[in-house]
């Protein structure tokens, strides 16, 4: 019975949805990637509050999303995460949505846009990769053994603190000694969930979905991104019909953290150009 209640729990609470900015303006939804939570947008999202209705949320199993609502079956495929995006949009009665997805959430946004055509005005994909594993005639950047190593890495890094962190993850405001850990909990997830999410993220192959995308799309590509190399960004751009790619000066996988101004400018420039046309 308790389970039942959790499943039906409001999506806004379940996924820690935060709405800010101009209430009646065009909505812009930010979806963070594998590893952290909506805090990843802290240097970028405030800029958009002047002209947009800004929607932030934590992916299922991440950040302050309700850990009890993580359903292993549902989230064994990216479609489960895409369902959540659509559920948030429906619950907030959003339309003409600008979707900004980082890393794995870029692909989740693609899947959501295919499910409900017309819901999204634009997709902004930051460091997208439709497939991380190298294949015949395809460079994804990784071999399967690299992913196995990542899982080991996750295991080692959760080993020391998972037991100590569990109460903080479960949310325990009446234990102030956990305050220190709570501030460091942005990137901390239940180890079992982190493992599952790593698998879903790095073993998915959505190359076949790209050509079906009809939503106008901007791809933001960093230089020297080990997770989503430039070739992969170009592959995505060539596969999505109505898309353009902006190569940022930023390096690494998280330009919204390392070069927030440049990231904001690139999104603004694209939106300005495409809203006027």
């Amino acid at each position: 019975m308790a389970q039942q209640y959790i499943y039906e729990m409001d999506v806004l609470r379940r996924l820690n949805v935060r709405v800010s900015g101009a209430p009646k303006a065009q909505p812009i939804v930010f979806a963070h990637g594998f590893g952290c939570d909506q805090n990843m947008w802290r240097f970028v999202a405030p800029h958009f509050e002047q002209s947009y209705k800004v929607v932030l949320f934590d992916l299922a199993g991440a950040g302050a999303a309700d850990p009890a609502a993580y359903e292993p079956d549902k989230y064994s495929r990216l479609d489960g995460y895409a369902d959540d995006i659509l559920e948030i949009c429906a619950r907030l009665e959003l339309s003409d949505v600008i979707f900004v997805g980082h890393s794995v959430s870029a692909m989740t946004g693609v899947l959501a846009s295919l499910r409900v055509p017309g819901l999204f005005a634009h997709l902004v994909l930051i460091g997208p990769s439709p497939c991380y594993i190298n294949g015949e005639g395809y460079f994804g950047g990784f071999d399967e053994s690299d992913i196995a190593e990542l899982l080991d890495s996750l295991d080692s890094n959760y080993l020391g603190w998972s037991a100590a962190m569990a109460p903080a993850i479960m949310g325990n405001p009446d234990r102030p000694q956990l305050g220190q850990e709570l501030t460091e909990s942005f990137c901390r997830t239940d180890p079992e969930i982190a493992r599952r999410f790593a698998r879903v993220t790095f073993l998915s192959d959505n190359r076949g979905d790209l050509s079906k995308v009809s939503t106008p799309t901007l791809i933001l590509q960093c230089r020297n991104d080990a997770i989503a190399p430039v070739q992969v960004g170009q592959y995505v751009q060539q596969a999505i019909p109505n898309s353009s790619l902006t190569l940022l000066d930023a390096t690494g996988h998280c330009p919204h953290l390392s070069s927030p101004e440049e990231t904001i400018e690139a999104i603004d420039a694209y939106l300005t150009a495409h809203t006027q046309s």
Binding site: G33, F34, G35, C36, N39, M40, R42, S103, F142, D143, D146, I147, A148, E149, L150, L151, D152, S153, L154, D155, S156, N157, L159, G160, W161, T183, E184, F186, C187, F202, D225, A226, I227, T251, G252, H253, C254, L257, S258
Partner: protein, 401 residues
């Protein structure tokens, strides 16, 4: 500067000598951990000798040429980009991150890494200071721990699987088809079913039109109880062939239990069912077990038979055989104390509730009645029974065979 231990000349000299050796540059280069200073994007701007010695790189290979994250294994690199880097950017520090550094010769060094991101006067990130600790031994130990944890988890799963398999051998998956009799049975282990319980039942053929039904409860739980349960079940099967009196079969079991020289206690009811025209004649004896309940179309449900001594204790248990005739429409219920001693708070399910349940469900077929009774008793305990529940329903169909 404060000099310690004034008056202690040798200590003072030692302090002075060490102080002369102290040099911040030396401490950086020869510290027992690796040091790297890097630009916010990870590009190495300074590295100490300890790190170079561990990894086999030259200073010029690294400084200005490689970023810290490029020295990591591919899996570690992903971890850096998805966790380490974002944490540094958001909170300015990370600590005790487990990674692997790839050496110049492609070997790996497991390391633990602390890092801080220092900001300039404008508040923007300026430099990452990284301390790297060799964690080879610790990682090996952690791998052992992980393996032990995995082993413990799979051992637990195997134990649960074993308990379930064992239980299935003690409780027939479904009762046999007997011409002229309708048999239903239900069983629910205690708790979440991870442990083998002590309840057992059995229904088996002795000869044409001659059947035996047994229900019992062995003291205790787990493998110990399972061994006695198996012993009891097969002893009664063997004894049933050699004797016609139910009390004799139970006495045989008593002797076997006592011969084992252990505290193996057991209650059991043994019923022999023989086909007589449209009726079945049931001879029965109970050794400390709850008496069967008889339901007849025109009578209220009631216990039948006489109860005798528990098995495994006395050399000469006192047991009484009695007999009842089952006519078409009659039904007998065998059950264990997991039914009547089911508790809800301080309240027992009790015989009265059971009798009224039989009254209420007198129109149900044997299988449905067994299922219904188990469900009711489980529900009474809010879904988590503290003891095993076993029921066997023996009905003579109203239409006859």
């Amino acid at each position: 500067m404060n000099l310690p231990l004034s008056g202690d000349e040798p200590a003072r000299l030692g302090f002075e000598e060490a102080l002369l050796q102290h040099d911040p540059a030396e401490l950086f280069d020869r510290a027992p951990c690796g040091y790297i200073s890097a630009a916010p994007d990870g590009l190495i701007v300074a590295v100490n000798q300890t790190f170079l010695s561990w990894t086999g790189y030259t200073r010029s290979e690294l400084v200005g040429n490689r970023s810290f994250q490029e020295l990591l294994s591919p899996g570690g690199r992903i971890y850096y980009d998805t966790h380490f880097g974002p944490l540094l950017a958001m909170q300015g520090a990370v600590r005790e991150i487990a990674l692997e550094v790839v050496r110049a010769d492609n070997g790996r060094i497991p390391v633990l890494v602390n890092a801080v991101m220092d900001s300039g006067a404008d508040g923007g990130p300026k430099v990452i200071r990284i301390a790297i600790f060799d964690a080879t031994e610790r990682r090996a130990y952690e791998h052992e721990l992980l393996r032990a944890k995995d082993a413990a988890e799979s051992a637990e799963q195997r134990a649960v699987g074993l308990a379930r398999t064992l239980q299935e051998t003690l409780i027939p998956p479904r009762p046999p088809d007997i011409p002229g009799l309708d048999i239903g049975a239900g069983y629910r282990p205690s708790g979440n079913g991870d442990e083998v319980g002590g309840d057992f039942y059995d229904v088996f053929e002795i000869a044409d039109g001659d059947w035996a039904a047994v229900i019992g409860d062995v003291a205790g739980k787990g493998v110990e109880a399972a061994v006695v349960t198996a012993l009891a079940r097969y002893t009664l099967r063997a004894a049933a062939v050699r004797t016609t009196l139910p009390s004799n079969a139970l006495i045989t079991l008593n002797e076997v239990l006592r011969a084992e020289h252990s505290e193996r206690l057991c209650t059991a009811a043994f019923l022999r069912l023989r086909w007589h025209g449209p009726d079945w004649v049931v001879d029965m004896a109970s050794a400390g077990h709850l008496l069967p309940l008889l339901t007849r179309p025109t009578e209220a449900p009631r216990p039948v038979g006489r109860t005798g001594s528990l098995l495994g204790v006395l050399r000469h248990p006192s047991l009484t055989d009695s007999s009842v005739r089952l006519e078409p429409g009659d039904s007998l219920l065998l059950y264990t104390d997991g039914v009547t001693e089911a508790r809800n708070g301080g309240e027992f399910y009790g015989e009265d509730r059971l009798l009224s349940a039989l009254e209420r469900h007198r129109s149900l077929a044997a299988g449905d009645l067994a299922t219904e009774l188990v469900t009711e008793v489980v529900d009474f305990q809010a879904g988590l029974p503290r003891d095993d529940i076993a029921v066997v329903v023996i009905q003579v169909p109203a239409s006859g065979p």
